[in-house]
Symmetry: C2
Subunit: 177 residues, 2 copies
């Protein structure tokens, strides 16, 4: 193909599993990653450059710390440090896989509302394609949960591909991931 | 990449230009096709199998025939024959390009409401990915025009990627394509 010198830059938004806990990627993140490897990258590992973005939600993380006591600025520092380490473990999973497959990649963490941060990072980094996983919730569940993928399809400044989990991978409560 | 024996089957929905007339593909169809070649297929031409679907809208075609007189069943036959030939010319453009690039492809024509036919063909053919072009209309224009791409993102039974025309390719009236 003419003009294929620059690799295709694919941003992949990844998040933690709500069932298995933080260092584990969510079912939909894994589904999106695996789909992209097997259907788009395929054997052409040199033709793609993957950009993994993990957005940490500060409030949500705070929930786990309900029983903690924050008595000094240092306590918050410890918490932030721990969050950072958990985020790094999540990204490590994806970066390790890329390393084994010899696919170039970068990974980084941001804090905030995932849907807004993903779109602002797309604006900043300008990937060729954004891949997001989706729990594939029905319209009723969607009202209460909100979906990152739908927001990105509408608002991200690049083509977006949404990958749903397989039906047999959905947990008992489909809001889990 | 393991398990990449079967090529990735990408369905591409294509339509005619509303400015240049029938045998010419629309700006957004060309944008979607070119994007897919340069960003996904790249040099890996053997890894992809392209499926071109063109949906002809029977009523819309009738508009061009306002001055014609249909006096016998044979007249309708002639019209249908001519429509078919025009559709084939459109598909020929894409099939020729694939042939030059040595990418396997198939192409076919269906009649009906494009958004519904595309989704029912996805159900029947089960591609790995659907690529649709989009005029990138604003919300106000969308109300009156309806967009095929938005419908497919919601209802197609496979991952969907929507490719917008580049801003500098949009015609004076953005509803044109």
């Amino acid at each position: 193909m003419a003009g294929s010198s620059e690799p295709t830059r694919v941003m992949v938004a990844v998040n933690e599993s709500s069932i298995k806990g933080y260092p584990h990627p969510s079912i939909s993140s894994c589904a999106a990653f695996d789909w992209m490897l097997s259907k788009l990258v395929r054997s052409n590992t040199g033709g793609f450059h993957l950009l993994f973005l993990h957005v940490q939600v500060p409030d949500e993380d705070g929930f786990d710390d309900m029983d903690s006591i924050y008595a000094s600025p240092a306590d918050f520092q410890t918490m932030k440090q721990r969050d950072k380490i958990r985020g790094l473990h999540l990204l490590e999973y994806f970066v390790n896989q890329c390393h084994q497959l010899e696919i170039n990649c970068e990974a980084w963490i941001k804090q905030g509302d995932p849907k807004e941060v993903i779109c602002s990072e797309v604006k900043r980094v300008q990937p060729d394609l954004l891949v997001v996983g989706s729990r594939g919730l029905g319209p009723f569940q969607r009202v209460f949960v909100g979906t990152v993928s739908e927001f990105c399809v509408k608002h991200a400044d690049c083509p977006v591909i949404t990958i749903k989990r397989k039906a047999d991978e959905a947990p008992q409560d489909p809001v889990d991931d």
